[in-house]
Symmetry: C2
Amino acid sequence: MNKKEEKSPVKKPLILVVNDDGINAKGLRMLGDIAQQFGQVVMIAPNNGRSGMSHAITFALPLRLRKISSSKDFEMYKTSGTPVDAVKLALNYLLKDQQVDLLVSGINHGANTSVSVIYSATVAAAIEGCLSGVPSVAFSMVNYNNNCDFKAAQSAIQKIIQTVLEKGLPPHICLNVNIPNVPENEIKGIKITRQAINEWHESIVAREYPADMPYFWMGGSLLEKDKAKDTDHWAVKHNYISIHPINIDWTDYSMIHELKKWKIK
Amino acid sequence: MNKKEEKSPVKKPLILVVNDDGINAKGLRMLGDIAQQFGQVVMIAPNNGRSGMSHAITFALPLRLRKISSSKDFEMYKTSGTPVDAVKLALNYLLKDQQVDLLVSGINHGANTSVSVIYSATVAAAIEGCLSGVPSVAFSMVNYNNNCDFKAAQSAIQKIIQTVLEKGLPPHICLNVNIPNVPENEIKGIKITRQAINEWHESIVAREYPADMPYFWMGGSLLEKDKAKDTDHWAVKHNYISIHPINIDWTDYSMIHELKKWKIK
């Protein structure tokens, strides 16, 4: 190392890696490995899978947080909390006085497109980063297999991380990236998309305990109502990577004008 | 009843009443009583308070659902699920083949303005109704007392329910109503607002078990960064009722154009 480098060391970006599939998920390790190419990684994840937790937080119960040993050369923590709790613990406790340069969430096992965005804790973790002013990106791959091969996603994730580190993101906006489940050479490119407005079609199954009242299993599938070609759902279905910008302001501004005409007194 | 009325009975609107403070919350009963003035009420709520659950759903565990007796002349159910689970159980199981004309959520004990909208399960329940095409309104009062007097809120809630039943709501839009904690004669009127973009300032408290690792309590307060006068936060702080229209499409459309310029290949 020469003198000049010694005097002005370039600080490596500090990258927080989180997920909702839990500390043992393959997608988390993969994302940690990719992020590490760009900076210093701190990883935190729920003890177990917490899919569908959306932006849930825990304040009526105490949270556990434990540093775990790892073969990786970055810090790893697990928590009893939700994915959003994990982000809060990282930004406000573990890394309280440090500037976090990027938050990446995932790689989720399964799609987070269309209305699934609203239920997703992978996306919620990115929204939570954004709420704290950290450039944040959620990554999901349309493959529900625990042993999913994320290789096809790797180079796109690298490019997106690099670009966001270079350009930053405007305040109040985070990115939701979905990657189709095909080999890399079949990925057609990247589409910048809007959120498809499809409907979740529920199927609720009632069962009986041997000597008790019924219990219910929630399930369902997505009804493809929004067939336009500019959506996240269309993109991944047609083998494009989707990048969907989300704003944490959910206000419908055109409805403000409409409601003012209602004149409720 | 004369013949004409017998031949063409006007069907009373079917109104689903939900909350996140749980089946025993005073605000739920109050909202049920008000809704009942406008239609046939079905009420469903979590067994216990589930504040801060956002849009969390339960699919890895079975759900309980039980009809409970009540002095009220409407049906009441409680569930082990989250507020959003409750809405799904109601719309897709209890009322599966019926048209629900309105969903009202609340009256929440406490404000759901600014970024709290993102954590709120009261608001999430309204968003869930909206996702299923039901006109949906969340009501919150800026009073955290379990025994809060909701009287000041009553006439505003009546007017809003009546107006939404008359006019409906456009697809993909629901309303988030916040009522200040002052006597009715001090309420200055209704403001149609946008969501204030404030920041949640966390305070995480670490404690030690007698012979174990630490545990953590999450807490915090809102940093008032967005001081504009057109927000939900400003409205309730200045004794106005806030009506904030929320769209379930969280896409930032201006960022779509910006991202296209990035040319990530």
